[in-house]
């Protein structure tokens, strides 16, 4: 279960879009997960073949839980052929030691050639080393263990039919059936057999209702912001930026474009921030485990407010390399999907810096709160017409207040000031923002 943002602790698998044996490549969407904030399409970051699915549809699991295993392409033939006719559970890795019921099962240890997929939170809890095979030890797959706990089945009384006598989900279910034949099976077990054989029409657990999601989102935002304020020694800077050249350029540019191809000035701001990061790289990256991990790529999180309250800050990837048109298309698409409540995991999880623009209705100055584990947030207020003195002359100019909230653990006011100055300078040459 990827950590889709600092404020996420658990997620529910709504739907699997792949089944064991399916080949996947980087960027494929394999599952749909429900969080407090939105419905997220989970992407994979490895190419390979889905070996098995460890968390079934409808299950709610903590961040860091392995959802599925991906094997290398070539290795499909042998092991997959063996397990093909069996239910999915037979393929569950059984390397781990049995755990006393009641303790949360740790992430399963991955056999050498298999890598857990979609585990953004996993680096925080490295999976335990595989226990050496000890024949007298009870071998139970984590899934079987959990189902057994749910069904009130004592696993020590279940006969294992998996490899080396391991107890699989199917074994537990058989035992449950035998124990209480007429008892209705819970939904999780219903969903059992070859998990994603045919995409199911109905998801076992409905997504959160509007009100529930609203309350959950408030809680999630509060948790992330409280963490930010508690852990991050913020410092704040602000500077007024002359937007006359940027706005004149944009107006002229938009005159030549049909309404469907017009740019919003936010796109100029996003690009300027992304380019300024090249000059002051300590604004871009993550603070993880007591150290700053700068990021090569500049994935700019864009704070997007929701009409019903709350906000989400998904990322536009590689902003520094994109042309303004591309950023606009991305932003347009992102806002649309945020408001429809469907996002992709990479967009939610990997912003390296955030920009919040409170738009032209609201205030002039934003005092941002950094979104952990990021280390900087750039804020923009509305553009206002102001008296502006330059070269001994005073004129009226459109001006925007650019602010920076940055992490004192990674940078100081001096560097932060240079960063804001770079943004201001880049916005004076809007035509150049389109390139690189």
């Amino acid at each position: 279960m990827p950590a889709l943002g600092a404020d996420m602790e658990v997620g529910t698998v709504l739907q699997w879009l792949v089944k064991p044996g399916d080949a996947v490549k980087h960027g494929d969407i394999v599952a749909v997960v429900d969080t407090e904030k939105a419905t997220i399409e989970v992407e994979v970051f490895e190419a390979g073949v889905i070996r098995n699915i460890l968390v079934q549809e409808g299950e709610k699991v903590p961040v860091g839980t392995v959802l599925a295993m991906i094997g290398a392409e070539g290795e499909l033939a042998a092991p997959a052929a063996e397990v093909k006719p069996k239910p999915v559970a037979a393929a569950v890795p059984i390397e781990e030691k049995p755990k006393p019921a009641g303790l949360p099962p740790p992430a399963p240890a991955a056999p050498a050639a298999m890598r857990p997929c979609v585990t953004a939170g996993a680096e925080k809890q490295p999976p335990p080393k595989a226990a050496p095979a000890v024949s007298h030890r009870l071998r139970v797959s984590p899934l079987a263990m959990r189902i057994a706990a749910d069904l009130g089945i004592d696993v020590s009384r279940v006969k294992g039919t998996g490899p080396e006598g391991a107890i699989t989900k199917a074994d537990v279910e058989r035992a449950a059936k035998a124990a209480a034949a007429p008892r209705a099976k819970p939904a999780a077990v219903e969903a059992a057999a070859p998990a994603a054989e045919a995409p199911k029409a109905a998801v076992s657990r409905p997504a959160l209702s509007g009100e529930e999601r609203k309350a959950a989102m408030r809680k999630a935002i509060a948790a992330a912001m409280a963490r930010s304020k508690r852990e991050i020694p913020h410092y704040y800077l602000g500077t007024q930026i002359d937007m006359s050249r940027a706005m004149a350029w944009l107006q002229a540019e938009n005159l030549t474009r049909p309404v469907t191809g017009r740019l919003l000035y936010s796109v100029l701001l996003l690009k300027a921030v992304a380019l300024a990061v090249r000059e002051i790289p300590e604004m871009n990256g993550f603070w993880i485990d007591g150290a700053f991990k700068p990021s090569e790529a500049v994935h700019v999180g864009v704070a997007i407010s929701l009409r019903q309250g709350g906000l989400i800050a998904p990322a536009i990837h590689d902003v520094e390399k994109r042309r303004l048109d591309e950023i606009m298309v991305n932003l347009y698409d992102l806002v649309k999907r945020v408001r429809a409540g469907v996002l992709r995991s990479s967009e939610i999880a990997d912003a390296t810096i955030t920009v919040t623009s409170l738009g032209d209705q609201g205030v002039e100055t934003v005092f941002g709160i950094i979104y952990p584990p990021q280390v900087a947030l750039v804020g923009f207020g509305k553009i206002t017409e102001r008296p502006w003195a330059s070269n001994g002359m005073v004129g009226a100019k459109p001006v925007i207040m650019g602010t920076l909230a940055a992490d004192h653990r990674t940078s100081d006011g001096h560097r932060g000031g240079l960063f804001l100055a770079a943004i201001a300078r880049l916005l004076q040459e809007p035509e150049k923002l389109d390139g690189q």
Binding site: N254, P258, R262, L264, S266, R307, L331, Q361
Partner: protein, 83 residues
Amino acid sequence: MTDNEIKSLVVGELKKLAPEVDAGQIDPTIDLREQIDLDSMDLLNLMIAIHEATGVEIPEADYPRMATLNGCVAYLRTRIETK
């Protein structure tokens, strides 16, 4: 298009952008952006939708004339007539 048709077109698009808005409560003389909290992306979407429905291409310079619901109707009527 009659004024009423233009009005219901605009109101219909506003409802799509802001589903919680009660169409009957929109004051046709007050700035729409303030009244129903539209951001620049909402406004762009409104212009795109109007363009798709009427074929009228609205230059950015004319946005201020469309600030209110009455303004939208008056502006679009002229533009559609002279098309």
